[in-house]
Point group: C2
Chain length 154, copies 2
């Protein structure tokens, strides 16, 4: 189930390293068309994978998400969209919407995997608008969150 | 294409950390029924994923290979087997054999991803026998490869 009126389309602005409650951690930033930004803490491997996809880097051997997309392609499965649609106790939840032979299949996933795959399949990424209303920040507000030690993962 | 006569079935003996040419690195050990062991250096994320599968650990949120298997399941795709079938300049190559609607699909993959997925789908793992003939070691020989600092990833 997906009611587009309840969702905002977002772009992936990049992956950065920032301070979290447990030390430095990678974060992916999603931005809607109104300039609101969502920060999602993710794992290191997933951050590197998103970073590679954003920079069109092709690994000599298929990395896990590359293999994922290669398998979906060989099985003639379309990634229609991915949606970040819940936030509970600081954990974001996402779903992937796949289509095979005209049949839609929804799969529970982490935002990081979903984003890493959506970037490789050029699929739309949506966030439920009330999540952006609640925890989205502006670019100016974002500066208060990021410390001077923050660096892009490069 | 897969000619079973050219292959040996192996079990995954575990993931360990050992010294490589570039420092400490995770390694997965595969053992055939004759006690010959193949060592394959793998990435940290893939090692943790294989380790979790070997110990039947279930993460609170689906990790990347868990998502992979969940998608294959939802798409009614069987993982028939995975095979490690080439070794070139120190890099091992693998293939996953998938079956969907009776049709077999082969996908080029890294051994680490293939093993992480095969453990979760309880699929057979094969290694081309001439690779075991060339670089397989016995348990006794393995002791010479492992240093005292080697530890299981736990």
């Amino acid at each position: 189930m997906f009611n587009e009126e309840e969702y905002s389309r977002v772009d992936v602005k990049g992956v950065y390293v920032t301070s979290s409650g447990v030390g430095m951690a990678p974060v992916v930033l999603l931005e809607d068309t109104g300039g609101r930004i969502l920060q999602i803490f993710i794992g290191v491997a997933e951050a590197l994978s998103i970073h590679s996809a954003l920079n069109n880097e092709i690994a000599p051997r298929p990395m896990t998400h590359d293999l994922f997309v290669s398998v979906l392609d060989r099985l003639k499965v379309d990634v229609e969209k991915i949606v970040v649609d819940d936030l509970n106790e600081g954990i974001f939840y996402a779903r992937m919407f796949l289509k095979i032979d005209g049949e839609e299949v929804e799969v529970d996933a982490r935002p990081s995997d979903s984003i890493a795959i959506a970037l490789r399949t050029r699929s739309d990424i949506f966030v439920r608008t009330d999540i952006l209303d609640t925890v989205g920040v502006t670019r100016d507000e974002l500066k208060n969150f990021f410390s001077f030690e923050d660096e892009m993962l490069e």
